[in-house]
Structures are given as C-alpha cells and as structure tokens.
Symmetry: C2
Subunit: 937 residues, 2 copies
C-alpha cells in the first residue's frame, strides 16, 4: 500500500508529495463524570475509574523532556491549573520552555470542555475566559490555543462554533456526529468543512474551519499503547519472543491508507490517546517513537483540497439507528436549573464585586471573592456536568460546589450592598423561594426586601414571599404603598416543600429595580387570622390582563386558547402532560435502553397522565392563577401577572412512580392551531435561533429511525412554532429537550426517571433520589408563553429570556432599616439600548474590570432592534460604573471612552489574534462578532 510520512503534531516538517500522518498524543480529561473533578485530579476512587490527572501531567512533562521530537496537547485548564499551582519554580520554568518550543501545546484551553446542548452562552464565555486567561497570564502568546477541540460533546451547537470563531480560533475539531452524517461524509470525503456559524454576523466573522476526527478521539484499532489498553507493544528486540515490527508497520500503513481514502488532503490526523490516558506516558511515547522510526521508511502521494460549507449545527447526535443522544437535553432537570440559577448568582456577584469596589472583597461580612463561584460555574459547564450525564455522586459534587460558591459570593454581595446602601445590617438569603420557604419572611412582622437587578435595563418583577399573616403593607423605596395580595400556599407546594417550611400563605407584589442596581421594599404585617379570600374550586372560563388572555376548557380544566390582546391574535392552545415509556432495551429492533444520554421511547405515542385536570382558581389584582392537578406527581399553576406579557406555566413533576418497573420521561405538549408545517425553532446556547424540520437534516438525506427521539433538539432558553401570522414562543428556565412531532404542536421534556443504564459509560440508571426525596426527585420549573406576530416576536422573547437568565436577587433584612440607608441605586446613568445586553461586568485584576456588551438580536428577527447600536461608556476606577446611552462626550482623565458599531467590528486579520481576554490586561479592546469587550484599569 501507499506509505507515508509520520510525525507527531505539531511543528514538524511535512512532505508535500506524501501522505502526512499527524499523530496527536492527547488525553481527554473529563472535569467530572464518573468521579468528581478533584477525585479525577488526585486519582482518588480509582475503584470507580482509574484516572489521576496529577499523574498524567507529571508523566507527560517527564516524557516530553526525554525526546525533543515528542509533542503533547493539553485541553482542560481546570486540571492544568490545579497541577500548576503545586509545581516548583524549576518545574514551571521547564514547562514554560516546553510550551515555548511547541512541545507542549494547549488546545481549546477553556476551564473545561463545555457541553454544547445544555450550556448557556454566557456561562461558556465565562469558563473559556477563565481557562484562556490563565494560559495567557502564565505562558503568554505561546500558550495560546489555536484550535478549539470538542472531541467528546454529544452533538455540536452552532453557537459554540460562532463563539470559537469570534474568539479567534483557527479551527475546530470534534469527534461525535450522527452516524448517517458521518457515513455520508466519509463516502464523499467531506470531513473538513467551513462552518458558517451565524446568520447574523458578516462572514467570515463566524466562519470556522472544522475537522471531523477519524476515529472519535481514539487511536486506530490496535494502536492504543496506554496503560489502560491491551494492544500489543512494539517488540523490536529480535532476541526475544514475538518480534512484531513488520506486523505493526504493515497494520499501521493499512490503516493510514484506509483513512486517507475518506479525507480530501494528504494530511491526515490520528488522535493517539483517549479518556484519562497518558498517566504513564512512557508507554505511549516509547511505542510512538518506535512507530515513527519504523514507519518513516516508506513513501506515498497525496491529492487536492476543497472544503465544504456548513450552516446548520450537529444536533441531534445518533451513534446508530436507535441510539439518539437526546435524553441528556433534559437529564437532571434540577441540576440544570441550579446551574442556570447559579449563573445569575455569579453575574450578580461579579457585578456587585465591581460596583462595591474594594469593600466588596473586604467588608463587614468578611473577606471573600467570586473565585469559588467562578470555578464552580466553569466546572459545571463540562459536558458531563450540566449535561446530566455524570454519576449521582458527581452531580452532588457539582451542586455542592455551586452552593459553596454561592456561600462565598454571599459575603461579596453583602459587603457590596452594605457599601452601596450604607447599611451593614445583616442580609438574609432565601434560596428556596421557589417552594415558598424562607424562615425570615415566614415569621417576621417587619422586614425589607432588596431587589438587585443584574440587567442593564429596569425590570418589573413579581415577588412571592412565604408568610403566615393574611395582610401586609408593602412600601417601595420612595415610601409609596405597593399593591400586595396574600394567597394560600398551593397544595402542590406544600407537598414539595415537605417539612422545610411552615408558611400558610404567599405575599405577592410587583417590584421594580433600576438597571444594574437595586431598589428596596419594606414589608410590615397588618393582620394575622384566617386565610385570605381563598381559591375557588372551579375552572374559570379565562384569565387575562391587559396584554394576554388565556381560556380554559371547563370540562377538562385544560388551557383552550391564548390571545394577545394588543395584537388581537388568538390561537387554539391546549396543553397537557404525558409520559413516554422508556425503552428497557428488551426490543427486537435494538437493545438500547433510555438512559442519561439516550432518549428512546418504547412507543412513539406517549401516555397521557390525565385527560382532565382538577382545578382551583384564584384572581387578585396582582396575579391570576389556575392551579391544575393531574396526578399525585404532576401539577401546574397557570399564572398571569398583572403586568406581564407572558403566560407562566409553573409545572411540578415528580416523584415519577416506577413501582410498575417502567421508566418514565415526562413531557408537556402544547397543541395549537398554528400551521407550523413540521417546522419549529430552537435556540443555540441561548443565543441564535435555528430552524428545525421534522424528519429532516439540512446536509444529508436522513433515514429517520426514531420518530420521536430523532426529532428532539436542545431547547436551551426558548423554542417556537409559527405560521404566517402567529408565533407561539416558549421561554424555558433551564435547558430541556423537545420537538414538534405533529403540525402545530410543541413538546418539551420536563423530567426523566429511568431504570437502566444506557451503556455509554456512566454505569448508573438515571434514577434520581435525594435525602429530601428518597421516593424520587421532584422538579419544578416555569415555561413562559408569549404569542406574537412572527416579525416582532423577538422584541418580546429576547428581553424575556434575558430576564429569566439573569433574574433579580432578593435579599432580606429583618426589622427596620437604618434611616440613612440608601434604598435605591443604579450602576448605570441610564439603561442600555434594548439591543444591548450587559453580558459581563466583573473584576479582572485588582485595579481592572472586564466589561462585555452584546448585541442580543439575531439578524432579521426584529425590525426595531437588529440594527447596529452605538454606546458610549465611561468607567470610573472608584465605585461606580457609568455606562451611558448615546453620550458622546468623552472623559479622558479617569476613563477611556470607546465606541463602535456593535456587532460588526471584525476582520480576518484580528481573527489571528489570541482568543485571550485582555492579553496585556491593559485597555485592549476586542470586538468579537456580537460581543464587544474591554478590560479597563
């Protein structure tokens, strides 16, 4: 066969007229999966999985030093950081030398290799920043990753490719794609492509060269020389038994030749490594050295290059006909929500750390910073973290890290709010308001509520506080009374909260908070006694406010229509809950069970949980509710606040019963009169929206083998269906999976409880229980429904979704506030324009902050908002950040004013720059497509 030239990536000379095989020694180190991130780092719990990253890095560095021709790439900065801080100065110098010489090369370089389906883009940018910043500050330009490397995530989001392009990566490699797509690409030699990852950004702003790896991310069969493998080593001592050099070389050349047939160019890659490999790197390198030595005697020719363009993403991912990785879009809904909520906490923490100035880190509530929370969130982006595909104990560890991070942030937040308000009164945090638990409000006669708004626009927000009184006086920051209502805690909430709270009622009122600031409300008990005017045990014909009207079927208790009163549009809308019977693997077609990764219903027809709902209704001046009860494990509140343009569906699902030995995957389905023609839309990582078409893939001729699972897509923040006149948009409070199986229908998977492992490595069924819920986890969440004209729907769902992602933080203070307390504050002189989202405001160094602005509209989705916007800004180095809208005068003294058309600043030239954030920590400005960012001293 055709022989070739064999070399370790990178920087070795190549041969233009030969087949060049680039061997890439690498390890793939999950930042948590079967073990926790620290167990992986140390190599603890090797009974679960043999993996110890500290030893991998020890060993790789050792082996690189033994032979200057050796190369290694490293990916996950969360681990590298842990290792680096334990190294001596001498070792650090040695490693810097290796990096400078290109022998150790970082690729991707984020804190973790994030999941692509269930992560929100803001958290991904944060985690990439953490990793890249560390590499930049430690190694400078030589440490800059040139390629993005997402070899393991289970499908690939277009928004990820867009972000990578905007970060300046030269290219992107991944390993997993649909088996049909892969087969077609192999046949057509179409495994290199140019991914046009945004339809908003002017090419080539979001264009990314993308390569599909030949063998997942594993070495070719028979060439795995890790300690975890059993492949035969190269035995080249003719005095010993089993001399096998000729056999090895022949096999290798055969594989290289075969591989060259499915790629276009005469350069092919082989990933020489896999999960947690190179713990004893000598095994790999000793044999690789020999392989290169013995192979490089033979020669071959190559051919020409032509790269195809791709516009869609790589979801859903199937590794075979009945094996769709679409279950993890929803797996562990509670963790997914906690991660999303924690992102909001972190942004608030970061912002207040800046706004409070030096007092934030050191004040009346102690010394602390946002570092723990940043790391916890960065780790949570990993593709076995928020994805829900880790073992239970690892999921617990992620949650614990987030909780721990939040504890640290509470110190920062308390200090900062003390500085900004002038009051060091103790602040109480109530993290369980979603189940109406807050000891302070349950028992206190008088307390105040500080509402911090992390958005750069003012928000109006409904507050629900658990109380035991029946009437309260609520005053706003100006001492003006606010309309409030007391309603009884629902039976569903009582059931879920168990004995974690004792509130009989909920106090409801609307709050407003200024951009990037807070407003404070005071609450006083007026009356104890019997509960207030209670719920009525019947289905009302409708609930409505000035924007929306939702009607109910009096016979079933289900929603029957939704109207937008402003636009005067109405659709038929029924909504109910169903469950798919999860395949247990006992099927003649395929033995694939549903599990943490895989969604595989036994039948395409889900079981209805109940055709009718028992209902109660409640109508007050603040809110109107229809409380629906479907079964002991499914209930819902349909809720319409007085000032809201969205109908809220607060669902409560669980514990899913499994005493019938059937795994269950619960969906809610919205069936409408919209003529959606088999098309629906989902967002990519919370940002751009992609069109989805039933039983169709844009880039290949799909043979649909799983009518449900094969039509599921990640719904990261929203999904919609539309026709010419109506668009129904659903904004979710976490990542979920869903699809549109029938015309006019949209289903969203809410919760899953499964009895079998799906044989993708996690080794556990996804059967969540906890101390509080030994009978099975209960999940609660919210869907926000809006009905609009398609051409203006984004004007509603863009800000709405940002309000769900970055929700106000409530903090409580018992009793009266000191009279000098500042009750209202804004970090901005004015709200930012509607198109501009304040993505990041965080402390960068001791004397510098990082600011990221984002143009949050997609091309063509809003007549009003998709235009470029000009923002002038001024940042003081003292306490307060001042971002002003359309201010043109620049203060040159203490600040730098920068302006630019957002998001259109991008050239091919600056794509060659580092994907680093502020490499010099100076005033560097980087415009990254829809993002605009600066570091300001």
């Amino acid at each position: 066969m055709a022989a070739g030239s064999l070399r370790l990536a990178s920087c070795h000379a190549t041969m233009p007229n030969m087949l060049n095989v680039h061997l890439v020694p690498h390890t793939h180190d999950d930042v948590g999966w079967l073990k926790t991130v620290d167990q992986y780092y140390y190599g603890d719990r090797n009974d679960i999985q043999h993996a110890g990253v500290q030893y991998i890095l020890d060993s790789v560095v050792d082996q690189l030093l033994k032979n200057p021709d050796r190369r290694f790439i490293y990916v996950e900065t969360a681990f590298f950081f842990r290792w680096w801080k334990q190294q001596s100065d001498g070792m650090r110098q040695t490693v810097k030398q290796l990096v400078n010489e290109g022998r150790l090369e970082f690729v991707n370089g984020g804190w973790c290799m994030s999941d692509e389906a269930t992560t929100h883009y803001s958290a991904v940018i944060d985690q990439m920043t953490m990793g890249l910043r560390f590499l930049n500050e430690t190694f400078g330009p030589c440490g800059r990753p040139r390629v993005a490397w997402h070899i393991d995530p289970f499908g690939h989001a277009r928004e990820h490719a867009s972000m990578f392009a905007q970060m300046g990566y030269d290219g992107f490699f991944f390993g997993r794609l649909d088996y049909q797509d892969r087969d077609r690409r192999r046949t057509d030699k179409d495994q290199e492509l140019l991914w046009r990852a945004s339809d908003s950004l002017t090419p080539p702003m979001a264009d990314l060269f993308t390569g599909i790896l030949p063998n997942g991310y594993n070495p070719p069969d028979g060439f795995c020389w890790d300690q975890s493998c059993d492949d035969p080593p190269i035995r080249d001592d003719p005095d010993l038994e089993d001399y096998n050099v000729d056999d090895v070389v022949n096999r290798f050349l055969m594989i290289a030749s075969g591989q060259s047939l499915v790629y276009k160019t005469n350069h092919i890659i082989m990933t020489m490594g896999s999960d947690f490999q190179y713990e004893n790197a000598n095994l790999w390198y000793k044999n690789l050295d020999k392989l290169i030595h013995y192979v490089n005697a033979r020669q071959a020719n190559g051919s020409k290059v032509n790269v195809q363009m791709r516009l869609d993403d790589f979801f859903p991912y199937a590794d075979n006909a009945h094996n769709f990785w679409t279950g993890y879009f929803t797996s562990r809904p509670a963790l997914k929500r906690y991660e999303r909520l924690s992102n909001s906490y972190l942004q608030t923490c970061n912002q207040l750390e800046v706004l409070g100035g030096p007092f934030s880190g050191s004040g009346p509530f102690g010394h602390d910073d946002s570092w723990t929370m940043r790391r916890a969130m960065a780790v949570a982006q990993h593709h076995d973290a928020v994805s829900g595909t880790e073992k239970q104990h690892v999921a617990n560890d992620y949650a614990r890290r987030l909780a721990d991070g939040w504890q640290h942030c509470q110190v920062v937040v308390s200090n900062s709010l003390a500085a900004l308000s002038g009051s060091s009164a103790k602040r109480i945090y109530c993290d369980n308001l979603n189940i109406s638990v807050c000891p302070l409000t349950e028992s206190s006669h008088k307390f105040s509520v500080n509402v911090y708004n992390p958005l750069a626009r003012p928000v109006t927000w409904p507050v629900r506080l658990p109380v035991n009184g029946t009437a309260y006086t609520v005053l706003d920051a100006n001492g003006k009374p606010v309309d409030s209502q007391v309603v009884p805690v629902s039976g569903a909430t009582r059931q879920v909260r168990k004995n974690r709270g004792s509130a009989a009622n909920e106090l409801l009122f609307q709050v407003q908070a200024p951009p990037l600031g807070f407003s404070t409300y005071s609450v006083s008990l007026q009356r104890r006694g019997p509960p207030p005017a209670s719920t009525r045990p019947r289905t009302p014909p409708a609930i409505q406010n000035k924007f929306l009207r939702a009607t109910f079927d009096p016979d079933t208790g289900l929603l029957s229509s939704l109207s937008n009163l402003e636009t005067k549009q109405t659709i038929r809308l029924t909504q109910n809950f169903y469950w798919y019977n999860a395949s247990d693997g006992n099927s003649s077609v395929s033995n694939q069970p549903s599990g943490a990764y895989i969604f595989r219903p036994n039948s395409s027809t889900p079981f209805v949980i109940s055709r009718t709902a028992k209902t109660e209704s409640l109508q007050t001046s603040v809110v109107q509710e229809v409380r629906q009860w479907f079964s002991p494990w499914v209930s819902q509140v349909v809720r319409l606040y007085a000032d809201s343009r969205a109908l809220e569906l607060e669902w409560t699902v669980g514990p899913l019963p499994v005493d019938d030995d059937l795994g269950k995957e619960v969906i809610t389905r919205l069936d409408t009169s919209i003529d959606s023609s088999g098309i629906f839309y989902t967002d990519s990582n919370g940002r751009e929206v992609l069109q989805r078409k039933k039983d169709f893939r844009p880039t290949w001729d799909l043979e649909q083998t799983e009518p449900i699972a094969g039509n599921y897509y990640p719904i990261n923040s929203r999904a919609y269906i539309k026709d010419d006149v109506n668009q129904l948009t659903v904004v979710t409070d976490r990542s979920q999976g869903g699809g549109s199986i029938q015309n006019g229908s949209l289903e969203i998977m809410l919760h899953r409880r499964l009895l079998y492992d799906d044989v993708r490595g996690v080794g556990e069924p996804l059967n969540e229980t906890s101390d509080v819920f030994p009978e099975g986890l209960v999940a609660r969440g919210r869907l926000l429904l809006t009905l609009d004209r398609p051409q203006s729907a984004a004007d509603t769902h863009r800000p709405l979704a940002q309000e769900v992602v970055l929700q106000p933080l409530l903090t409580f203070t018992s009793g009266d506030l000191h009279p000098n307390t500042r009750l209202e504050f804004s970090g901005l002189q004015d709200a930012l324009p509607p198109a501009v989202h304040l993505l990041t405001l965080s402390q960068w160094g001791e004397d510098s902050v990082l600011l990221r602005l984002e143009h949050q509209y997609q091309s063509g989705e809003s007549k009003q908002h998709t235009q470029p916007v000009t923002v002038n800004l001024k940042i003081t180095t003292t306490f307060i950040l001042r971002l002003t809208k359309k201010k043109t005068k620049q203060n040159k003294k203490n600040s730098t004013a920068l302006s630019g058309n957002l998001p259109r600043r991008f050239t091919a030239q600056n794509r060659k720059r580092a994907p680093f954030v502020g490499p010099e920590q100076t005033e560097a400005l980087r415009v990254c497509g829809g993002f605009w960012q600066m570091v300001q001293r």
Copy 2:
C-alpha cells in the same frame, strides 16, 4: 498512638529510641506466570494481566532520579538483563550511579526467584549464578545483593536457606508461611529467626537470619498507591476537596503501631509494592514522599531484640485451614520431568563445551553456545514455572524455551563430541526414547550409540532402543560383544506414543561410560522376522537379580514383597494406584477447590483404580519385567535390570478421565510392613533430607484441618520410610508431592487433572491437554525403590539419585564409524571419590571455566562417606580437564592446584563476601559449605 520514624530502605539514618519504619519500594515480577516472560517484559497481552517490566524499570529509574532520598530494590535479573541491553550508554552510567549510591539496590539477584519445592538445588545454583554474575560484572561490589528475598514462593525449603547462607547473603525475607505458624509467631513476636538450615554444616555455615514480612509482600491496607490499586492518594491541597493528610497519617501510625506489637525490635519493615507494580512509579513515590514528610513529625520508643532459632523448613504452606498449597508439588508432571531432564542436558552441554574447548562453540555443526539453554533453565526455576502454577500457554512457552535451548546445545555437543572423538559424522538425537521412538534405530541396520556420562564416576546404565529387528549384535568400545535382548514394545507404550513411532520391539543392553566421558557402542541388525520370545500372560511369583527380589501376589498381580538379597532383609510391600476426588469447592466446610496450587481432596479415602492388575511378564538376561495394567489410563512396568540395586516402577498415567465431572489426583501408594510410626523423610531440593511427622510441625502446636493435604510434602528427588532395620527409599525422576498417611505407608502423587481454578490467580483449571493428547495429557515416569539397612541406605540412594538427575546422554550415528574415531574418552584422570559430586563444570569466560565440587552426603547418614574428603585437581586451559583423586603433585605451569577439606571451609568472615561467583574472574576460590567452587583461567 506511638509515632515513629519513617524512611525508605536503605542507608537512611535510623533513630535508636524510636520505632523505625522501613518502607521498601519494590516490585515482584514473575518470570512467567499468567503471561510468558517476554510478554511480561514487553507488556504484551495486557488483556491477560496488566504488566510490562520494561516500563517498570524505565519508570523507577526516572523517579529515583527525581529525589535522592528515594530507594528501590530490584530482584529478577532475567528482566533487568533484558532491559539493560536496550539502554544507551548514558542511561547505563546513570543506573550505575544509582546503584553506587544505594538508591537502586538489588536483592536476591538470581535470574528468577526460584520455586522452593520443586527445584533441584543444582539448577537453583545455576540460575543464581547467572543473575549474580551479571550483576557483579555490570555493577561490581555495589551491585551485590545482601539479602535473599523470596517473598512469593509457596513454602520455603531448608536447602534454599542453606544455599543462601553459603552464598554469603546477610539475611533472608519471605512472605508466605502457614497461617497457624504465622499467627503463633505474631502472638509471640517471633517473626525474626535464625534459620539453621543444615544439620551437616558446622554452624554458622548454614545459619541465615530470616525475617517474615508483615503483610505477605504487599503494602499495608489502604496504602497501595500503584496504578493497579484503588487506595486513596494523599490529597494535601487544602484548596481541593477531600484533604486527607491527617486521616492518612493517623491510619498509617495505627498500622505501624499494630505492626510493632508483633515484632520484637523497634525496626519494622513495610513492603511498598506488589506484583508488577511501579510501572508508573510516580504514583507510588509521589505519595510515599508525602507520607514520609507528613509522618515524620511524631515519635515513639522501641524495645529489645532476641532472635529465635529454627531448624525445620516452611512446608507445607497453608494460607488457611482448608487451603494447603501442596498440589503444586505435583502439578504439570510432564513439565516437571522435562525441566529435570533439561538440567541434565544443560550440565552435559556445559561440560562438553569445556571439554571440547574452542571447537565446541565453533565446529563442523555450526556456531553456538549453551547460553540459550542456560537462560531457559534459569527461567524455568521460577516459582510459577517448574512449580506448574502458570497458565497453559506459559507452560508451553517454558517448554518451548527448553526445547530451543536444547537445539542450541545439540550444536555444542555435536561439535564437542566431534572434537573429542575425531569424527564429524552427523549425530542424531532421540529425545523420545522414553516412549520408544527414535526414527534412526527403528529403521537402521547399523548404527553406533555414544553414551556420554556427566557424572564424575563411571556408570552402568540400561539402554532401551526402539527397533524393528528381532536380534542385534552390540559391540562395546573395545569391540567386545555385549549381551543384548529384544523384547516387544508394551501395549502401554504403543498407546502413549500414538503414531509417533513404529518400533515393534525394544533392544536392551547395559552400557558403561567413564567419568565425565563417553563410550561408544555399535549395533548391527542380525535378524528380522517374527517377534522374539514374547511376554507371558501371567503373574510370576517373583523377579530377582543378584541384589533384589520382588514378589507378586498371583491373585491381584500386585507387588507383595521386596527383599535385599545382600543384606537379607525382606519387607512386605504392596503397591497400587488410587485417585483422590478433587474438591470442586462445593463444601460446607470451605469453598476451596483443588487446583494448580491447592490440593484438597473431597474425602480422605482415595478410590482404588483397580484392586487387581492384569499382568504380563518377561524375563531376559538383561531385564525382568512385570507389566501391570490397571485401567485404560493407569499401567506400570515393574522392572529389574540385571545389575541394578533398585527396583524400577515405570508408571504411565493418563489421560485422566473427567467425563464424570470429577477432578482426579492420582497417587501410587506403597504399603509396607515397616513400622514407621507416622514418620517419613523427604529431601529438600534434592540435597539434605528432613524428617516429616504426621499431623505435626516442629515449631508450633498444629491443629490439623486437612488430614491428607496437610500431611503432604515436596518429594524433590527421594522419600523414605524406615524403622530400626528396614529403610525403603523411593527415588523419583522429578519433583512430586507425597505423604505417609498410615504407618508403614508412603504415597506419591503422580498426576492431577482438575476442573476448577483454585482462586490463587492463575485463573485456569489445571486440565492439561496438548495437540498429541487432546483427550488429556499422559505422564510417564519412574520410581526407583531400594531396600537397605537405615545406616547404610544413603550409600545407595545418594549415587542413585545423582544418576537419575544427571543421566547419560545417548547420541546416535548411522552406519559405520570412521576407523580413526575415538570410541572412549574421559575428562577425568580418575573417578572422584564417592562423596564428591561434580556439580558444575562450565565455560565461564572465553578463557576460564567454572568448577563446582560438592560433598554430597548429609551428616550422619553414611558411616562410609560423611567424612571430609581431599581432592587435588589440575585444570588445563586446552581441551581436557583433569581432576585427579588424591594426587598431590601440582603442576605450576599451566594450572593451579587447590586442595581443601570438603565441605568444612567456612568462616563468619567470608560470609560477608559477595554471593558472587568469581567477582574478579581470576583464580578466586569460594568454599560454600557443602560446595567448593573455583573459576580457573
């Protein structure tokens, strides 16, 4: 608890008033077991067992270089040698430096860690020589092992301890001993002892300090940090989860404290390693460094020392009440025989390599040497080689190596015999004479037989050659006719040889050969035609020669008595075959099945194979035979040669039927009228004999839990029972297990076929089949019985056993020899005295030879021969070695004559010398107790 001082052995300062914990980082690398030696070296077939010694040595050296405080011991030179020859000059210098600084230390240092039950002392000395010589020549004095280290062998032979003492080791450590013995010793703090390992040698010649390791050879529970272990690493970064330094230190001190309670001194040892560990030594050392660092803050006191003496050995070894490792004494009887026979081949090859001078290595039959055979034999001494406890494919590899070695030696032997005889006629080797297969003799009309005698005394030897004629003329070297007989090949032999030969008859005659020399016989066909006077189908009343008479029971066909006609003593003797039903593990008492290691009969009463034997008899002038047929799978020939003082029982056992699903362990049992009082005797590694007493151990109060297996001992070359007047000695042709369960009875296990693995790691049932014997392996062997007065029995069995160990080599030449051919030759001017055995004569360097003499009698066993003997010797550097008995004149010109009383030269002083053989390759003389050795240029 009491803290202590913690250090890596060796050479670190100790603290006299503290508990000193010596951590010994080590790896135990089996020279074959589940994989072959070369598979282990390279790390091939890691699917069977993860183990790659090349990487272990790579990694350990790397890690030693990282910290000068680190230490490592290495044991198996077979592996180290393989590694060393692949290293660069720079690496060799580095390793020498490590050795010189005591950071890398060799212990034991033999080519392998030999088995102690089934090895013959001569082969053990050879393999130790190979390893120690390599270390000496490579590293000089700093490479000298100071302690013997037999951590894994399954019981411990006194002769091994004796040899180690005589080789100059300072001490001996082992790991396995009977659980009752161990428990008693732990209770009594009696785990250090002085082993008086010979009752012949004047103390302290064979005294050896012996230490019992605390935990087998493993690290304490929870402290295994190898890649193969799951114990928690030391996690000392307080920023990460699961900081555990305090927990680790506390657990360690608890263990150290507990261990100090079962040892006498304030120095205790911990073996930090195990099978094939340290392939990634970083894991071990990184954690050991931390352990030492964190533990060495605490202090404790020690106590005094008093070491107990031990005289017996450590057989049998039980790791629990029903788990006696006494099966491997017999496991793989064919391999055990082949190994023993190969030893004879190797000694012959070595001798002829010397005697033939430079022509041996380079002559008419090619260029070759004994190196391959030496290595094959050395590897075969391993405790999972000749022991029979390896996997089947590994057993095949050992056998293949021996066969390969013998192929190489045949070149040497042919060259040497050509030089010594003056004839380069082609020599034919017939390796299957034991089943009457030899194509040359089967077909040739005329051929000659060269009989080479590797003993230093003349031998008389019966020859049996497969032929198809019915009468032959046999002439000796002087042309004198020799009495010969032709008898029909037995049915049992025909059955065993299958289609591998076609001889109808066997030609029998006696040969004589001079000491260390050969004699040549010529054979000419006289008559073809009908078979000769055939066997008679009946049981003769007796067979007898001038020395012995054996009678038979005409009803049963079994032996009934044995008489020594010279001493006029007669005993009742019946002999029959039985099988124990091997336990399959289904027992309420214990779930231990019989297997490669473990012997565990289901019942203490064996099943008789047949109460009667069908017999044929045959009486000729050369031999008398009674051929007994017990079953299709058990037969025997009782044979008495005209000139023999031993009755030969040639047994043929197999294929053992297992279609009844019962594993079988076949014994032969000799029941006599000897009043043996529950006592019998077995040899230790073919040398000194130890007394065994039923249900008794000399050093502790035995609770006997396995009445058969617990009374089995290794029979390496002989066993006997005796009373005041009669001693019945059985000399075996290989290592076997046996016992004396009833008074006057002696049983020997011959063959085993088992259906279950015994859960000691080999993972296969001992169920031998082969290409030739797919239905189950057939084993054939010989027991030689002598009846003597106890006080003079050794005068017979000592030379008899040596004749079995070093048997004459027959080589054949077709047709007439050239008239100038020298037909007789001796390397000695005279035979050595009867007490002196020529143990070794082999080429040492190009211009030097190694000579070992041995006083082969044990103290008190022979009135005639246990006295010191004086031998004068002269070695020429040309062709011929001249050892002369009682010659006093010394030739100063070309040789050095040395004399000494054998075996009494030994002082405490020279025990401190290296256990090396000829460290300077000069005229060094070493007297090792019963051995006497020199290297002569």
